[in-house]
């Protein structure tokens, strides 16, 4: 089959959006939204070291290195939390900035030593360069999506339990720590898969914004996840198309901005939780909006995004 470059990139960003929406749903509900950011930033030094060790620009080599150091970053966060009296936020900031600093130092010295080698330009990973995506890269992303989707579907019930009631999950005999590590692993894999297209600095946005937007539309985890995937996919496609249409605009930031627009629209227009819905006149109008169930059949919208509260109220 023959694909144009745009089609390849479109497929890639679409798949990426879907995977990120799936994993990000749990990240947002578990209050681990910024863990993805930490992993993304700490992936950079590993990527450079992989390049230096194997002298190869093969995506698989680079991304394996990135995955390893991303996971190392995540482990460092939990070690620092365990063995020092530093708080969550400080620990995340420290790991993120130190690893990122190491990555910057490595990219810079690689660039300085390989001046005549265009293949050594690792700086494209910082902002991302979706336009240069190859068919092989898309296949790898497809594998990541398939694996992620498989694991999430298989363990959907357990992950749901973990997201809403960790203690109950443990009482039921599921290892919360094991599931946590699994989620961390899925997050890291998704983030690393997104690095070439969206870049170190912005990959976290893919994990956070679509699920946060989807949260406006539903109180059910399964529906929220599907909506998050849809928003993620839409943002990926729209961002790519925009960047193809207006030559020279970077793809990654456009994808992020698209999802931000969707987030803002959701905030305004979503039923029950949207700004418009909450204004009084709009509630009278609900009979004119065919896609919204009436208030009697739908559980009352929880007052917070706290999964614990919404779990109780929605049950």
């Amino acid at each position: 089959m023959f694909f144009t470059q745009t089609q390849i990139v479109l497929t890639g960003t679409l798949l990426l959006g879907i995977a990120a929406g799936m994993v990000g749903t749990f990240a947002v509900l578990r209050r681990r939204a910024l863990a993805g950011d930490v992993v993304a930033h700490s992936a950079l030094p590993g990527l450079c070291l992989a390049f230096l060790t194997f002298q190869s620009r093969s995506m698989l080599v680079l991304l394996s290195g990135a995955l390893l150091s991303g996971l190392l970053g995540a482990v460092t966060v939990s070690l620092l939390k365990r063995f020092t009296r530093l708080r969550d936020d400080a620990v995340q900031g420290i790991v993120l900035s130190v690893f990122y600093g190491g990555g910057i130092a490595l990219t810079r010295s690689i660039q300085n030593t390989h001046r005549n080698d265009p293949g050594a330009d690792l700086e494209s990973f910082i902002i991302g360069q979706a336009a240069t995506m190859l068919k092989g890269d898309v296949q790898q992303i497809a594998v990541v999506v398939a694996v992620t989707a498989g694991i999430v579907l298989l363990l959907f019930k357990e992950l749901k339990l973990l997201s809403f009631d960790e203690q109950f999950c443990q009482v039921q005999g599921w290892s919360a720590m094991g599931l946590d590590i699994l989620l961390m692993l899925l997050t890291a894999i998704t983030v690393v898969a997104g690095l070439p297209a969206v870049g170190v600095v912005l990959t976290a946005a893919l994990l956070i914004i679509p699920p946060a937007a989807a949260r406006f539309w539903s109180d059910r985890l399964s529906r929220m996840m599907m909506i998050a995937c849809a928003i993620g996919g839409t943002s990926g496609v729209t961002g790519t198309l925009l960047s193809a249409r207006y030559d020279g605009l970077p793809t990654g930031p456009l994808i992020v901005l698209t999802s931000t627009v969707i987030f803002a629209l959701s905030w305004v227009f979503a039923p029950h939780r949207g700004v418009l819905w909450k204004s009084r006149d709009m509630t009278d109008l609900q009979s004119f909006l065919p896609w919204v169930e009436s208030d009697d059949t739908v559980p009352r919208a929880p007052t917070t995004l706290d999964p614990h509260v919404s779990a109780q109220e929605a049950s």
């Binding site: 939204a33 530093l86 936020d89 190491g102 600095v201």
Partner: protein, 467 residues
Amino acid sequence: MLHMLPDTAVLFAGGIPIPFEAQTTRLAASLGLPATDVQNAFWTMAVGALCAVCCSLAGCFLVLRRISLLGDALSHSVLAGTAGVYLLTGRVDPVPMLCGAIAAGIVTAVLTQFVHKAALVPEDSSIGIVFTSLFAFGVVVVSQAKHVHLDLDCVLFGDLAFAGVNLHPTFGWLVPESFRSLIPTLMITLLLLAVFWKELRLTSFDPTLAVTLGFSATLMHYLLTTVVAIVTVSAMDVVGLLVVALLIVPAAIARLLTDRLSTMLVLSCLIGVSCTTIGYLLALRWDSSAAGLSAVVAGAELLVAIVVSPKNGLLGRLLRTVRLRIRICAEDVLAGLFRRQERSDAPDKRVQASVSECHTLAGGGIMSVAALRWLLSRQLLQQAGPVMLLSETGLRYARSMVRSHRLWEAYLQENFNLPSDHLHDPAEAMEHFIGPGVQQQITEELSQSAEDPHGRAIPDVKRQDVR
């Protein structure tokens, strides 16, 4: 003008003097390096140090208030501010850019809270949404800008390495531009600290108390945010996004080393300066990014602090644990010898034990060697050839240990009604932590303190005898 003109640098400047020029020239001569190189290095380190001081001072409060990630968010979103100003005016003037960046910083702080409160999104997610969106906006605008001064690379990597190169005349002196722009930032930061010291301290440690006393914690939050935004913007030229490393890491290290706010501020400044200086020198050595290596150096210093910090360091904790274990082993030897003396035919004669028996009493292993040395060095035991003897002080110490042990057994039995075979083990653990004060208290509470539940006499100690 009597002083000599040793180099071309001053000629190039058209007679405007450069601070510390004589010193750097002299240093260059002694090192055998070109004078301009040393001068550049000196100014780069000065800029880096100034930058580190500003960042550390503001960063301490970010760390204490647990809003470190706000620093991260601000460092990303100021790009949107400068980009927005460029979009509106189409020019790159420092003052409007600075205002735009500060505005973006404040907008980030406000918007984060707004999305969190109004849209009911968890706080971490709302930070993530706001700063990535603003940064994406900034990147899109900057990528279109054909202006040399709006360079994405500078934002992403910072260019500390060139900070000392461009000298500009300022108030009759020739100093680097970034140095000049950082001086007011430092002034503003110090002014905030001087004017609102009490309020900042109170709201950082106990916001509830601050509010009940009538200080506005919100006002302080936004004041601090403004200052952090100013610091971030002016440091951005030099270290790029890595400003977050200079904001958080030195402050976190200082937090590990001290519990006093004033000490923490001073320490974090020193640590910050050492990070940028060492980072810059390493970057020269390895031909790499100075800002990146500063962050790495900061990370390494944090590791060192985690290990050797006097109060909470891993090494300190390990040392305390080992000391305690040695003391416990040694005390076990004393108590064991005392019991043996008690059981012997002639209780008044001093009991002897071979060295190996003492090792067995201490539990064996390397700990027992250390324990015996501990005892000998304190002259609680005396060595006479192959045998060990309890000394006079050792006997008193041992008597007090056994008294603690038996008092605790009696106490447990009287108050908790444990079976008599359940008394020894808890007492074996507790005996090492019962001092004369607690002994006295237990004695007063017990109905009788002459015998323990096993029928053995509880040895008496006079007040001055114990430890």
